[in-house]
Amino acid sequence: MKKLILARRFSQVFFLSLFIYILWSTGRTASLFKIDPLIAILTSISERVIIPGIIFSIAMLPLTFIFGRFFCGWVCPMGSIIDGLGIKAKNRPLNLSRIKYYIFGFIVVLAFFEIQIAWVFDPLVITARFISLNFIPSFTLAMDRAFIFLIKLLNFYAPLYDFYRGLKSSVLGVKIYYFPHSAVTMGFFLVICAFLFITKRFWCRVLCPLGAMYAIIAKFSILRRRVDECGRCMKCKINCRMSAINEDMSYKKEECVLCMDCIYDCPVRGTRFGWPVKAAKEQGKAAISRRDFLFLIASSFLLSGFKNKGASGAGKKLIRPPGVLSEREFLNKCVRCGNCMRVCPTNGLQPVIFESGFSGIWAPHLVPEIGYCEYNCNSCGNVCPTAAIPKFSLARKKEQKLGLAYIDKDICLPWSQNKECIVCEEHCPVSTKAIKTYEEIIGGKKIKKPYVDASLCVGCGICQNKCPTRPERAIKISP
């Protein structure tokens, strides 16, 4: 019985399921990233603020000091997916583990220059984005279609239909979410999975900056591996998914994710993990040399070109979520986790691709034709882990202006064709109506022609969403 491996697998499945469950239920999604020190600390550094919940992520650091990189092997959802997919993958020794420190170093240095790019490589964010924007929408869509097929085409109305309706209001969701540009997030995730063709846990060994952050602490961790008896068969070394074991049976503590494989690979059962009896000598080389570190700092300046790309003019084309004031601050704080897009009840928040420059990729914007900003809702601010979308009370959120509506009189039915319509006025959620009307009598009929009162309009976009003209809407929100 490989008890420890079973325990590790159980823990991986448990945390991955928990991760998906939390994203699915949309209740406490902000709390997910509170245990992620990379995101929490670096966003705080780059924005010079203490983001809420940072204390939880700092608590992860002493735990790592005790146990080592247990997070990577036992908790990380990305690690679990990579392990699950990579069961049959080949394991090859690699000597590239230094790269992840460079990546981590880049991110830290840039954070001091007020540029936050932790989101590009943070594994929790990548997995959350994949689950929210790809996995959940396609899974629910497939389930929905299967039910519709059974009900409609095979005529199983009555009990099955009631069951389907119950599912719809609980698990499945009333709305099947749709993100037109989510293929890019999918592609990014697939590339990371495709590294499995090179070796097991390639991502964790070579690229992951969160892993690097934990590795630096894990180097000094208390829990350690001991080899009491050895037949020099090298099985543990060959099988180690992190290539953490050295030729002389010592190991790189900063690389070990405590997967426990080496305990059971050993034919003489000579390996075990335990607390130190007496202070052991530090083993292994430094993770990154002084020369490399200086090189890293110097080369980081080259990346400063990243800065302000999103903030310059181009970003103003987009309607940002409610309460977002400065484009620069928003792009810096936003970690692109996709939480806001997952909870937006109308599906209106969508990931940006390149509209606001390279540094603005995957940040949310409102697409009124897909969904508007629900007036009585402040969910996006509530779930944002870094307060890039501020957390406002409902009353304060209602005052936030996302943009301003304007009417294209060439398309608008009352203006261009003297037809009665004013659907925009009907739906306007502001209690005194930001859309007013002129009355004109044409051919004995009273026609009401809408206009926008700019002082009242909050730019929620419901008018654009409900406007019946096609293909273009007669009323649009400009940011």
């Binding site: 519709i148 009900i151 409609k152 085409l153 095979l154 005529n155 009631d162 309706r165 719809k168 209001s169 009333v174 709305k175 009840p345 109308t346 629900e374 007036y375 009585n376 809702c377 039915l413 037809k419 009665e420 319509c421 004013i422 659907v423 006025e425 009907e426 739906h427 306007c428 959620p429 502001v430 209690s431 005194t432 109506k433 009307t437 009401k448 419901i462 409900k466 406007c467 019946p468 096609r470």
Partner: protein
């Protein structure tokens, strides 16, 4: 019993030709099954509307005033002759309230939940097998259902409250020329034995007031904004298509300005009245009168009279007013 199921399966290889054949036979039999099932239980995708029953109440219209919305709803329906008159044993009832907006009951954007609750109770007392409640909402449907309070109360009383499915519709077919021809209507609105329309009386920018005929827009799918053009005739034809058996107008809390969304409690006043009747046009006309408006100035009512769907002549009608 040795080995797993897979080991016990016959180890037979299949040729490419055999595989193609097998797939073909499988698909053909599925298609045939499908066709047979459709033939046996298939439902039309086109409907000519509900079958008329024309059940008359004891009066043409009853208006009940009082403090408790639940009690006056019961009083109004009892004065019409009781729910047993409209709901037969083991029948399926559809109650269509207005749940269009993400508003609380106090803001009067939706039908009062207690009015809906009273109707559900009465339907089950009259022996209904099933009571369905739905609305095609304007705001996010989950938020509307929850914040209106209707979902909670109706579910407690045993009704089926569910969200609409845009794939489960039929196309409307009229015997006369109609602008609503071919409009997708939710199937459940037609496949019910009794249709009870429960609108809330409130202000509306385009039609002046939103009433029982306008409330029927909630059973329409599709790009509903287009109904607003020539809305009077469209609502009249829609009412004729559905022919509601009973209309109960909630005028308990009334939104007098900035409708149909409202949101400001200063725009709401308490009228504390429930109107019940079998003629949708007459009910609308009476409600318009309560709001000091000329019934014929509201396009739905004037077009309803024009197409002979009901009468708007309150003076001639048998109206009973109850003060509880």
């Amino acid at each position: 019993m040795k080995g797993s199921v897979f080991e016990r399966l016959p180890n037979k290889k299949i040729s490419r030709k055999g595989f193609v054949k097998l797939c073909g036979i499988g698909m053909a039999s599925l298609a045939l099954d499908n066709a047979l099932l459709k033939f046996a239980f298939g439902r039309d995708d086109v409907s000519t509307g509900r079958v008329v029953k024309r059940i008359k109440g004891l009066h043409d219209l009853v208006a009940a005033d009082g403090i408790d919305p639940y009690a006056i709803t019961v009083k109004a329906v009892e004065a019409m002759g009781g729910m047993g008159r409209f709901v037969k044993k083991n029948s399926v009832v559809l109650i269509k309230p207005n749940i269009g907006w993400d508003r609380s009951p106090e803001q009067a954007g939706n039908t009062n939940p207690y009015v809906v609750g009273a109707l559900v109770d009465m339907c089950f007392k009259a022996g209904a097998k099933r009571v369905n409640i739905f609305d095609n909402t304007c705001n996010d449907s989950k938020r509307c259902y929850e914040n209106s309070g209707i979902e909670k109360i109706a579910k407690e009383k045993g009704a089926n409250v569910y969200f609409v499915d845009d794939w489960n519709v039929v196309k409307a077919k009229f015997s006369y020329k109609s602008p609503m021809e071919g409009w997708p209507i939710y199937r459940d609105a037609l496949e019910c034995d009794t249709f009870i329309n429960v609108p809330v009386l409130k202000h509306h920018g385009l039609t002046g007031l939103t009433l029982s005929m306008k409330n029927l827009m909630g059973i329409c799918s599709g790009n509903r904004g287009l109904i607003h053009f020539d809305i009077g005739a469209k609502l009249a034809h829609l009412t004729d298509f559905i022919k509601p058996d009973l209309t109960v107008i909630d005028a308990y809390r009334v939104l007098k300005r900035n409708g149909p969304t409202g949101g400001d409690l200063a725009d709401v006043f308490d009228m504390k009245t429930i109107i019940a009747g079998t003629d949708p046009v007459l009910c609308d006309a009476y409600a318009a009168k309560l709001m000091d408006k000329d019934p014929l100035s509201i396009s739905g009512i004037s077009q309803g009279v024009k197409y002979n769907i009901g009468s708007a002549d309150i003076a001639k009608a048998d109206v009973l007013i109850i003060n509880a």
